[in-house]
Amino acid sequence: MEENKNFTVSVYTENNIGILNRLSAIFLKRHINIESMTVSKSEIEHVHRFTFVVIVPETLIRKVVLQLEKQIEVIGAYYHTEDEIIYHETALFKISSEHLYDDKIQDKMKFRRAHIISITERWFVIEASGLKEDIDNMYEKLKPFGLLQFVRSGRIAITKPKMAISEILAEIN
């Protein structure tokens, strides 16, 4: 069995309704769990960018990316390994204000890209960002204080290799 790896899939699409359904259907058909997903504008006007993270064998992701790319409204689809990308995730932690002046919490935050972004009498919110592991670590450390809420964003990633979307658009038009 080929080993599972983390892949970041970047899909450039037209900005039309229903594309998310079409893309997720391809993962669904192959019984692949999407670990995280982010949709945003891209560097090109009217072109949207989906970023998926999946954990699968490379031969599988290669086929999936071709099937994503085949969709009419997909301009280009790519997959990258962890060392081919620069990526980032963000998380928010809501914690009871009784811990606000707890030295232990202050300690945990010192070493991380973490800071408090909101404080009320009853609760406060810590924002942390970084690699997946950084946030995993932060989660483990803050959990003992009782998390009132926890939420983490999908991965956003910039790839080191070029994705030639403008060239593809220029070629067809």
């Binding site: 699409t13 037209e14 039309n16 309704i17 229903g18 359904n21 079409r22 259907a25 669904l28 058909k29 290669r62 086929k63 071709l66 099937q67 790319e69 085949k70 009419i72 409204e73 997909v74 301009i75 593809i168 658009l169 070629e171 067809i172 038009n173």
Partner: protein, 577 residues
């Protein structure tokens, strides 16, 4: 879409006229050269049907008895003509009744445009009467789909739909039009679509790959070609023939590739796959170079992938990049239009001679003749065989007929024994295996090729899935020849139960009505044959008829289809009995 909205077009040019969205639909279809559609009306599509009524001298609509019948008919039409099949249905149940046909067209790359009515846009998402999310439902089984909510979008979207359905690897497109968009007005002008910026219909041919492929072919001692429907879809039948005749390479087809090359061609060594011919299946695992042309290595073709052509270098000519290396790892892939590839490669391939290698095919063919084919074509057992019925039809039609097959044992007999002399003559549900496909598809095929004989080969099971379409035959007078091969079983499933489930015939025995009376109820001349001596005469009478005709042949009940590659077995372990 904004560029087309009414504001921009308010400045009247001589080219634009104000009409309703519904009328625009018909005008767009006429502009695309479409004057025939299959469908079924209902509330949400009524404005369009009203225009069909008004345009009836230019635009013909065939009312089927079920939306599934409409879409299969459109598929039959598309398969024999190469044109886009056109379907209308209403929202909700009308739309969902299309789904099987859409999935069938998607997996068999059949170009279709389906237009469904939808509830008014202000009702979308409110669970309105007959509202269903047909865009969501059809997304995984369409090449493209789109919901129109403004009349002004209609011309551009229909143009795009036709371009997408027929270009590159063809497929079904669904356009869902809300009722208000049908009633709404627009300034009409039509421009055919020639490109979609995010869609590359035909990949650019890499000539270096063609040269590499040619070199490998020239050096091969035991080259073997497997071609698929791509040859037909790409209109490359002549180029294909020139290529194999120059290189003299034995060539076998997939089920959907049938009829691209005449059956009697000396280089045609049969069909591969689960119930294909013995020689091409066995020798897949002996060739040194396997050249796959316009085919996708379906599991029914390859059997166990782990033992499929492992000794061979594999060349793949394919238009769809997603099919390359999907199932079988290729050594050289030419990803381009197959006609272009086959044209370009001619200057690089040498004239070849593979006499000894051809003999290997002949030898195995003789074994198949002795152990399987003779028993089918010239049976000595009392019961009639499906093979002899096909043999009888070949004799009467000289292979000139379009054979439409349903799904089951009779389909495999049709694929194996029908004799083809013209391309686009094998209309069948390959990838999806949709029982009930044949009768409506035959109606569409006959309308697409009115000068040709259309013979539908159907099982007693599948016939009862769509025999309501006899009503469509009654109403349209489509002169299809219907042959029901009645073995009183869901034969293909029964065969598997016999071979792999110790003959536990769970729900495969089938009691059927009096099929002759049923056909007669629809004013169709009908005959039932159960004795060998009556068969040839009955087929002759049927083929001589100028009208629709029904022939039921009572078949030996527990006959099996062989050869067979059991699931999970290797192509070279194909069983003769």
């Amino acid at each position: 879409m904004e560029t087309l909205n009414t504001k921009v077009n308010e400045v009247k040019t001589s080219k634009t006229v104000k009409i309703t969205g519904a009328e625009a639909v018909i005008k767009c279809l006429l502009a695309e050269g479409v004057d025939l559609a299959y469908g079924y009306p209902g509330g949400a599509i009524m404005p369009v049907y009203d225009e069909i009524y008004k345009y009836q001298d230019q635009f013909h609509h065939v009312l089927t008895r079920h939306e599934q019948g409409a879409i299969h008919a459109a598929q039959g039409f598309a398969r024999v003509t190469g044109k886009v099949g056109m379907v209308f249905a209403t929202s909700g149940p009308g739309a969902t009744n299309l789904v099987t046909g859409i999935a069938d067209a998607q997996i068999d790359s059949t170009p279709l445009v389906c237009i469904t009515g939808q509830v008014g846009s202000h009702l979308l998402g409110s669970d309105a009467f007959q509202e269903t999310d047909i865009i969501g439902i059809s997304t995984p089984v369409t090449k493209w789909n789109y919901q129109v909510t403004k009349a002004s979008e209609i011309p551009e979207i229909i143009a795009k739909a036709f371009y997408i359905a027929k270009s590159g690897r063809p497929g079904p497109v669904l356009i869902d039009i809300t009722k208000d968009a049908q009633f709404g007005e627009l300034d009409y002008s039509y421009k055919k679509c020639e490109k979609v910026r995010s869609y590359k219909a035909v990949p650019k041919l890499n000539i270096e790959k063609v040269k590499e492929a040619a070199e490998l072919i020239n050096s091969a001692k035991k080259p073997f070609i497997v071609w698929g429907q791509g040859v037909i879809l790409g209109g490359a039948e002549q180029e294909f023939k020139k290529f194999i005749e120059k290189t003299n390479i034995p060539s076998a087809c997939t089920g959907l590739g049938l009829s691209a090359l005449e059956t009697a061609h000396p280089l045609h060594v049969g069909m591969v796959g689960m119930h294909g011919n013995y020689a091409p299946n066995v020798l897949t695992n002996s060739c040194d170079v396997l050249i796959a042309i316009g085919m996708r290595f379906d599991d029914r073709v390859t059997g166990n992938l782990a033992t499929y052509a492992k000794q061979a270098k594999v060349i793949h000519f394919e238009i769809d990049p997603a099919e390359v290396d999907k199932n079988v790892k290729t050594d050289i892939a030419v990803i381009a239009d197959v006609k272009e590839t086959l044209t370009k490669i001619m200057q690089f391939v040498d004239k070849g001679e593979h006499k000894e290698w051809m003999t290997a095919f002949d030898k195995l063919y003789q074994i198949e003749v002795n152990e399987v084919i003779n028993d089918q074509l010239n049976p000595t057992k009392q019961g009639l065989t499906m093979g002899e019925v096909l043999g009888g039809i070949n004799k009467e039609t000289n292979g000139d007929a379009i054979i439409v097959s349903d799904v089951g044992q009779h389909q495999m007999f049709a694929w194996r024994y029908a004799n083809f002399v013209k391309t686009r003559s094998n209309v069948t549900s390959g990838g999806l295996g949709t029982m009930g496909f044949a009768l409506p598809a035959a109606i569409g095929a006959k309308m697409g090729a009115p000068d040709r004989e259309v013979v539908a080969i159907i099982g007693d099971g599948g016939y009862q899935m769509t025999c309501n379409e006899l009503g469509t035959i009654l109403q349209t007078k489509a002169a299809v020849k219907i042959v029901v091969l009645n073995n009183s079983y869901l034969g293909m499933v029964r065969q598997w139960q016999e071979l792999f489930f110790d003959k536990r015939y769970a729900s495969t025995e089938m009691v059927s009505p009096n099929f002759v009376k049923l056909a007669e109820a629809y004013d169709i001349e009908a005959v039932k044959v159960s004795k060998r001596e009556d068969l040839a005469g009955a087929i002759k009478t049927m083929m001589a008829s100028k009208e629709a005709y029904f022939l039921e042949v009572v078949i030996e009940q527990e006959d099996n289809i062989f050869p067979m590659i059991p699931t999970g077995a290797s192509v070279s372990d194909i069983r003769l009995s």
